[in-house]
């Protein structure tokens, strides 16, 4: 009985010493936080565009992003056209981050001498930890103004005929450090269509993704499926594949696409190139950011 009590006391002594011994090994474990913090997914794409489409990223608050985009002529123009490089269409745009949730942008494209403007807002942000959210959800609305001279000036033409609108929700998730995927149900409304057979409201579903190859290089792809019987018969679904190359302050996007236009209304409803005929165009986007207002809060 006595020896049992002695053993018990010894064991007690041992347990009293034990925690202090462990504490010596890892001091930081003494103050380990049991409260998890919320961590938002960042850098799901290198820039705010996948290729033509909007990506899950917004321009940071107080940052101005100048984008210069080119689409050359079709590759099947052959050597005479230097595989399309002789012809170029351009969009020059400025994007600005008003807050971490809201960005706006304007641009001018040479295709149909189009002026465009848009709003893009983050409704939900993908996060893990204390507040877990599986996806990022973005609302995008844009307007495009075709400023070409009237085709039939003798007709009664309305200014509203020049306008088209795009509304889009983007649902996306950064699945891993390198892989991001997004879905984009989209509605394009055109005030004027070329024929009665075409719908004013066009519904399309887009899908886009990126896979990082190295820290500074990623491969992107995007595709829009336009639901049948809505647009002119010779129009096709837009497909683009390209690379993002990052060099410090710039992001270069080099790609191939069957679309010429760089605004939603254009590449969703007016893509006429056929990938299988080589009717694809080389193109690039260059993005350069300027910090206008320093307000970098998470």
């Amino acid at each position: 009985m006595k020896s049992f009590r002695k053993f018990f006391l010894l064991a007690l002594t041992f347990f009293a010493v034990l925690p202090t011994v462990f504490a010596q090994d890892d001091l930081l474990s003494l103050i380990e936080d049991d409260k998890p913090t919320t961590e938002f997914a960042k850098a799901s794409f290198k820039t705010t565009r996948v290729i033509n489409s909007q990506s899950l990223e917004n321009t940071a608050s107080g940052v101005l992003d100048m984008k210069i985009s080119h689409r050359f002529g079709p590759l099947n123009g052959g050597a005479y056209e230097l595989f399309g490089l002789d012809a170029a269409t351009i969009r020059i745009g400025l994007d600005y981050g008003i807050s971490k949730h809201l960005m706006v942008g304007v641009g001018r494209s040479s295709v149909q001498k189009t002026y465009d403007g848009f709003l893009k807002m983050k409704l939900l942000r993908q996060s893990s930890g204390a507040r877990s959210m599986p996806v990022t959800v973005i609302w995008f609305s844009g307007m495009a103004l075709n400023s070409l001279k009237w085709q039939n000036p003798e007709r009664n033409n309305y200014f509203s005929s020049r306008l088209a609108y795009t509304h889009q929700l983007i649902f996306g998730r950064k699945f891993s450090e390198g892989f991001t995927l997004q879905f984009m149900p989209t509605l394009v409304h055109r005030n004027l269509t070329a024929t009665d057979a075409e719908k004013h409201d066009v519904i399309a579903i887009g899908v886009a993704g990126r896979q990082k190859l190295t820290r500074r290089l990623a491969i992107n792809a995007e595709y829009y499926y336009v639901l049948p019987d809505q647009i002119a018969e010779n129009m096709r679904n837009s497909l683009a594949i390209g690379f993002d190359i990052e060099t410090g302050g710039h992001v270069f996007q080099l790609h191939f696409t069957n679309s010429t236009a760089m605004v939603e209304k254009g590449f969703i409803t007016e893509t006429d190139g056929n990938w299988f005929d080589g009717d694809i165009r080389f193109g690039f986007n260059i993005s350069r950011v300027f910090t206008i207002k320093q307000s970098n809060k998470d």
């Binding site: 002695k6 002594t13 930081l28 003494l30 960042k42 107080g62 450090e177 950011v289 910090t291 970098n296």
Partner: protein, 186 residues
């Protein structure tokens, strides 16, 4: 009977010493900042969420810094820092574990500023290096402060800097550590 009493006394003393000893200090809001200076560009970032524990009895010190918590003046710098340089997705924390080598020169129970030398292992970007840095410990009415300034070379921690921006990022980056410790009650 006597031996039982002794054992009891022994365990009692031990329990008391571990419960009441005021020899550990901690912080969760330590300040760590770094500064890269080149003729092309100055880059500055700071982090106010460094955690650290210091054991006054053994001279042991530990630090952990969440890389994502570094704030830069430009959003793009912050993204590049996390994405391209320290790869904070893969290596979320920088840590340091070491010892005050001249502990005998520090009296944690007496007000004063003590020059110390700290030696240990620093891990950044998944690479661990032996480092040594000077610093000071200030004791003021039971409060302990520590600060240190030292240089870190990104190259040592396999942080690659592409040719294009090499002129903009210093070879040696100045790191400033300011810790405001509280007594750790366990």
């Amino acid at each position: 009977m006597r031996s039982t009493f002794l054992t009891l006394l022994f365990s009692g003393v031990l329990a008391i010493s571990s419960a009441f000893a005021q020899d550990k200090y901690f912080t969760k809001n330590g300040q760590v900042s770094f500064f890269s200076s080149t003729p092309m560009e100055n880059i500055e970032a700071s982090n106010n969420n460094a955690t650290s524990v210091i054991d006054a009895k053994t001279g042991k010190m530990e630090f952990a810094i969440l890389m994502k918590a570094f704030k830069f003046e430009k959003a793009l710098m912050e993204e590049h820092f996390n994405e391209n340089y320290v790869e904070s997705g893969k290596y979320p924390k920088a840590t340091f574990a070491g010892n005050i080598t001249n502990l005998s020169g520090v009296d944690f129970s007496k007000n004063g500023t003590y020059k110390v030398n700290v030696k240990g292992k620093m891990t950044i970007h998944g690479v661990t290096k032996d480092v040594e840095a000077p610093g000071t410990i200030t004791v003021e009415n039971g409060k302990v402060k520590a600060n240190s300034v030292f240089n870190v070379a990104p190259e040592d921690y396999k942080i690659e800097i592409p040719k294009l921006v090499r002129e903009k990022i210093a070879k040696e980056i100045k790191v400033t550590v300011n810790m405001d410790y509280q007594a750790l009650k366990s």
